[in-house]
Every structure is written in structure tokens, then in C-alpha cells.
């Protein structure tokens, strides 16, 4: 029986399920590498283009938030990324080592007085494009889920 290393890679329950956890430095280049890896899993499972678009956008926003705002680009701090993907759903957790924040403290970026301010839009886009977005109580870990889009057109020969 093979023993998996306790850190980097966890087991997958079947061929279509992939589950992994990685720790990356507070560096957006490392973030993009994980982003590509996760997007690759969606593409392998033929997720709809719109799902891939939404997940990539949400991942970008969440990783930038964790690396810049959470860890303040501190090279001594890391970001934990957990991903579980199968043919119907993807779940991603992104946790930084910052103090966290409370989502209700973020101003509404669509209010007229905030329209020209560059804040809060990342969270708004994550909420719009993902099926679920939640933060832990501390506010330093975001949980994102996206269910696979199944279009009626796919079932037809149209």
C-alpha cells in the first residue's frame, strides 16, 4: 500500500475527483501557477466556457486579496489553497495569514458615491460568478464553490 506524503497532495477518491492542497509564498506568480492548475482541471472535465471564465476571475480576485491585502506581500507569510473538483462541482478554499476582515465592512462598490472608487469590486465579482462565497469568522479564509453549468442546448443536437 502506497503512503501519500502528508503535505502537498491528498488522495483522490476516483478518476474524476481531484483534491489537493498547496502552500504558496505571497507572490502573484506562484498564485497564477495554481490558478492554471485549477483551470486545467475544469477544462479536462469539459466545464462550460462560462464556468471557466467565472472560476478564473474569482480565483484571480481571491488570490490577489490573500496575497496583497491579507498577507501584505510579506515573503514570510504563505497562502494555503485547497481545491476539490469533480465533474459536477468545484470547491476552493484560500486562506492567508493576515488579520482577516469582515465582509460587511467593505463598502458597496455599486453605490453612486463609490462608483469611482477602486474597492470592493473583487468580492462583488466573486459573488456574481460563483455559486457560493463564504468567509470564515476571522475573515482570512474564503470558500468558493461553483456548480457545473448544464445548458439545455448541450442536450440537443442543435
Amino acid at each position: 500500500m502506497r503512503t501519500l506524503p502528508s503535505s502537498k497532495v491528498m488522495s483522490s477518491s476516483d478518476d474524476l475527483t481531484e483534491e489537493f492542497e498547496v502552500l504558496i509564498p505571497s507572490d502573484t506568480t506562484a498564485g497564477h501557477e495554481v490558478q492554471e492548475r485549477i483551470i486545467g482541471h475544469l477544462q479536462t472535465r469539459n466545464y462550460h466556457e462560462r464556468d471557466v471564465f467565472g472560476v478564473r476571475l474569482a480565483l484571480e480576485e481571491a488570490l490577489v486579496n490573500a496575497i496583497k491585502h491579507g498577507n501584505g506581500m510579506d515573503p514570510a507569510k504563505q497562502v494555503r489553497i485547497y481545491c476539490r473538483v469533480d465533474s459536477i462541482k468545484i470547491r476552493i478554499e484560500i486562506e492567508d495569514q493576515g488579520p482577516g476582515f469582515q465582509i460587511e465592512d467593505v463598502p458597496d462598490p455599486t453605490a453612486d458615491e463609490n462608483l469611482e472608487r477602486p474597492c470592493g469590486r473583487g468580492i462583488m465579482l466573486m459573488r456574481a460568478f460563483m455559486s457560493l462565497i463564504e468567509y470564515n469568522a476571522t475573515g482570512n479564509c474564503v470558500i468558493l464553490e461553483k456548480g457545473r453549468t448544464i445548458e439545455e442546448a448541450e442536450a440537443n443536437d442543435d
Binding site: 502573484t28 497564477h32 484571480e60 462608483l115 477602486p118 465579482l125
Partner: protein, 118 residues
């Protein structure tokens, strides 16, 4: 600006500056910084008054990029210039709509419409 850093192709069409993004993904922070600097210089240094931003190559755009577009819009308005966006694919247009920035920016379907009457 060094050619290798060029993220936006700029041309003049009937007295209007047409700036076309060369990247498919406007996500990376360094990239967004370069794009911002190149766009801002059109206003700050060249004092161009009529600018059309062509998004036909753009497939992804993050909120950090939206921040640069908001700043660009402010700069153009501050010199009483005109700024229009065009050729935005539907996914990206949705990003503008969700954030209500479609109300702030003037968005046209294609370059021809963007140039018309600017």
C-alpha cells in the same frame, strides 16, 4: 516606452486615438500597471482629447484592471476629453454590468460606432 513593454497598440483614426489592448488576459498586476501607465500617458503627456479603447482581444479582466479604467475615465474627463470603449465580449460586458461601471463608461458595440460622432 520600450517596445517590449507595449501592452496597447495606439493609432490615429480621423483625429481620434484608438488604443487596442494586445493582451488576452488583463489580470497580472505588473501587466495592469504597464497598461495603466501607457493609457495614462495618452492623456497626461500627449493630451489626447478623444480616445477609443478597443477590447476585441480581451478575454479576461480583473477588478484591478477596472480600477485603472476608472482612473483613465477621470483623467479624460478632467481635461474635458471623450473616452469610449468598444468591442467588448459578452463575458467582460457582464463584469461591467455587475459592477455598474456600464453606467460610468460609454460603451459602444464596435470601433465604427465608437468613432461615430465622438
Amino acid at each position: 516606452m520600450a517596445a517590449g513593454n507595449r501592452r496597447v497598440d495606439v493609432e490615429e483614426v480621423n483625429g481620434v486615438t484608438v488604443a487596442k489592448f494586445t493582451d488576452k488576459k488583463i489580470l497580472d498586476e505588473g501587466n495592469i500597471q504597464l497598461i495603466g501607465n501607457q493609457l495614462f500617458s495618452l492623456v497626461d503627456e500627449d493630451r489626447r482629447m478623444k480616445i477609443v479603447l478597443d477590447f476585441s482581444n480581451v478575454e479576461y479582466l480583473s477588478s484591478a484592471a477596472l480600477g485603472k479604467l476608472i482612473t483613465m475615465d477621470k483623467k479624460v474627463k478632467s481635461i474635458n476629453g471623450k473616452l469610449r470603449f468598444c468591442s467588448i465580449r459578452s463575458d467582460i460586458l457582464e463584469v461591467f454590468k455587475i459592477t455598474r461601471l456600464d453606467k460610468l463608461f460609454t460603451i459602444k458595440e464596435n470601433q465604427e460606432q465608437a468613432l461615430d460622432g465622438i
